[in-house]
């Protein structure tokens, strides 16, 4: 039991963030498929996150700023692909 907990903790430590990002990406895709107009909101959210990450950068916490950057990256990918698909249909 003890080793299972240790192994699971290690697994979460190693891959937890990557799994979270994949799940977040899937959620963003699902949401944008449900509500198409939300693609613009993603851009707004990403700009808002840019400002927050800027605050972390000012205080030299590059680690959190980088993680926020990764979320921004996902938001921008989903929004730009959605906008592209929308533009294609015109």
């Amino acid at each position: 039991m003890h080793s299972i907990i240790i192994n699971f903790t290690y697994f979460l430590y190693s891959y937890g963030w990557a799994i979270f990002e994949i799940l977040l990406l899937l959620f963003l895709i699902w949401l944008v498929m449900k509500v198409k107009k939300i693609a613009y909101s993603y851009v707004y959210i990403s700009l808002f996150l840019f400002l927050i990450s800027g605050t972390f950068v000012i205080f030299h916490n590059d680690y959190i700023a980088g993680k926020l950057g990764e979320i921004i990256f996902l938001l921008l990918i989903v929004s730009s692909v959605t906008l592209f698909m929308k533009e294609r249909k015109k």
Partner: protein, 403 residues
């Protein structure tokens, strides 16, 4: 007219201030800089096309480096005309073309995308004065990477024209343009072609309906393939045959000979200096001191660049017009190109650094990129286009609101 003169003077002053060392009569130096001595100019004039170089140890075969031989031969020839005065020659053949080509290429690409001459002037400012290219050329790589970097928007532009109008003349011109960039640097050529490939894929997807209609006709498929791939490829192959044929005969991968420092994934891990936030901010990890391997904290002011660049998505034209739609697609293309560039420029770092390592080991040609910062080129091109677009739209919005 007055506005144009003002812009030219402004740009000239910026160049004069940032590159003030170029306006002196002193020789330029840098880590990777090739000093233009009289003997170097003499070697270039008479031995440019030699496959054996004696400048390292007992000599070594330099077949892949021969790509630049036509240009070095030209430099040697110009040098002998100017009395082998290296100070003048280096400014004339490296620095001046770097500014002129870099300025003209990014300006023209932006003008094509924006359709607005006034704000297209912003593109060269971003393209030529970002931290990546400043450190590259201050490190002495203006001769190869610098000139190829300046030339890369021309390649993209020529492919944009070729796709729009697939004729023999356009295909021939694209081939010549591709040969020129290949002469300067193979890696930058590869990265530019990734950008071009992305553009072709993007155009293919966006015009899928027309393509499926057209592609029922085999003739159309063959025509596109011939004009976009075969003719430019043939022109490049023929112009560069003098080193491509020896390479094919020798059948040796030059990177394999260089050893573990060049071709192992641990080398990639070591050279991945740029983090995700650096790539997003178009901030070279070694900025400002350019000491190899010495990285710094992220700087908040550099977040302004991605904010401005990605804000372009807000200004996508919602009206259903053909010109508006083309511009919208171009903007989305540059956003996606920037995101691809960001993902690759961070190399083996998080997130999903394993993807880069896998590509390094499996995708042909990727072995050239043990230093992932080369991918900053895609970010630089994209940001220069997107920022000029955003600024022009903000200007229009302010004019509507307050004037």
């Amino acid at each position: 007219m007055k506005r144009n003169i003002f812009i030219v003077v402004f740009v000239f002053l910026v160049v004069g201030f940032i590159y003030r060392a170029l306006f002196s009569f002193l020789p330029i130096s840098g880590g990777d800089y090739i000093s233009m001595t009289a003997s170097q100019l003499f070697t270039w004039k008479y031995f440019s096309f030699y496959v054996w170089s004696t400048n390292i140890d007992l000599g070594w075969a330099i077949i892949p480096l021969l790509a630049s031989a036509p240009y070095t031969f030209l430099i040697g020839w110009i040098g002998s005309l100017l009395g082998n005065n290296g100070v003048i020659v280096e400014r004339l053949v490296w620095w001046l073309p770097f500014f002129i080509i870099g300025f003209y290429s990014s300006f023209t690409l932006s003008k094509k995308i924006l359709n607005n001459q006034t704000f297209s002037w912003i593109a060269p400012l971003i393209f030529l004065f970002n931290t990546y290219i400043l450190l590259i050329i201050s490190g002495g790589q203006v001769a190869g990477i610098g000139l190829a970097y300046a030339f890369s928007p021309v390649v993209l532009l020529s492919f944009i024209f070729l796709l729009k109008k697939p004729t023999f003349e356009c295909a021939l011109l694209t081939g010549i343009v591709l040969s020129i960039i290949l002469m300067f640097d193979l890696r930058i050529t590869y990265i530019t072609l990734v950008g071009v490939g992305l553009y072709i894929f993007f155009q293919f997807i966006s015009h899928l309906k027309t393509f499926t209609k057209d592609f029922k006709n085999v003739q159309t498929i063959v025509r596109y393939f011939i004009f976009i791939v075969v003719i430019p490829g043939l022109v490049v192959g023929l112009i560069h045959a003098f080193w491509l044929i020896p390479m094919a005969i020798v059948r040796q991968n030059p990177l394999q000979q260089l050893g573990a420092a060049y071709n192992t994934t641990s080398a990639v891990r070591f050279f991945s200096f740029g983090n995700f936030e650096n790539a997003m901010g178009l901030l070279h990890p070694n900025w400002p001191e350019n000491i190899f391997g010495k990285t710094y904290f992220m700087r908040p002011e550099f977040l302004l660049l991605p904010i401005l660049a990605f804000s372009s998505l807000f200004f996508i034209n919602k009206k259903k017009s053909e010109s508006g739609s083309t511009k919208n697609l171009a903007i989305i293309y540059f956003v996606l190109m920037a995101l691809v560039g960001i993902f690759l420029a961070k190399g083996a770092n998080n997130p999903f650094g394993g993807v880069y390592l896998w590509m390094f080991g499996h995708i042909p040609g990727f072995m050239m990129f043990r230093d992932p910062t080369k991918w900053y080129l895609l970010i630089a091109i994209s940001y220069s286009m997107l920022i000029s677009y955003t600024v022009s739209k903000i200007y229009e919005w302010l004019q509507e609101k307050f004037v």
